[in-house]
Symmetry: C2
DNA sequence: TATGGTACTGACAAAAATGTGAGAAATGAG
DNA sequence: CTCATTTCTCACATTTTTGTCAGTACCATA
């Protein structure tokens, strides 16, 4: 996804050798990842089509891309059933669930602060 | 910064009417914002030149841009002294400081999880 | 008069992220 | 045979973010 030649590119190993914050950011950044994690926190196990419905507004291409990223980073698990038409279920992994506290705090902070004019 | 005509643009009001998470993300997203907040959490009050030194690697243009964003969102405070050569100090606002718990948790989560191969 | 330090600004370009729209594969229902 | 359903994939275009690099303004100091 990133070009290795780019001056401003940090590859996986570089990121993982950095501070914890950098890794957390790298794993959560992406316009829809937190939404997806939120839906899976609420919904437990969801089919692709259910996620698609819940994330109305996001393009299919991006939904798939973000799901792939989240799976590659070990935050969600994908299970495909050999049926026709296909059925694929997504759910949080243990690692994904361990973000729950942080996600809740971020949400709460936003609620508390979003209206405030400094 | 964003074009109002863009399909995928959410303006400030729209974001603030959304869930808290969306607001939190909108305020923290930007490649260097969390680093800057981290430095200010550690360092208290810092001059522009000190921030510049600490964020070696980030271009000056971006550093300024992110400082402006953070200030506009009320997370940091800027104080300019009428001297020559100029002196400008930055520090966290109360709102900025209130992110401390979240930032620490994110950092800790990253440390705990960055090495793990799912 | 020239120089140097500090905190920026602006034009331009490259890179990254996201969107759009079309289509693929597999198979049971009609 | 044709169609509908589901989970994706691909080529291409646009939007957004970030980087590069050259300047600016101020005045004290040499």
């Amino acid at each position: 996804m990133r070009k290795e030649t780019s001056t401003n590119t940090l590859n996986k190993e570089q990121i993982e050798s950095m501070c914890g914050m950098a890794y957390t950011i790298s794993v959560l950044s992406g316009r829809w990842k937190l939404s997806i994690l939120g839906f899976l926190l609420d919904g437990g196990t969801l089919r692709y089509s259910e996620l698609k419905r819940k994330t109305a507004g996001i393009s299919e291409r991006m939904l798939i891309a973000q799901l792939k990223d989240l799976e590659a980073d070990g935050l969600i698990e994908r299970k495909a059933y050999p049926e026709v038409p296909p059925r694929v279920e997504y759910k949080l992994s243990k690692k994904g669930k361990s973000l729950e506290t942080i996600l809740n705090l971020m949400s709460a902070w936003g609620e508390d602060n979003k209206g405030i004019r400094p």
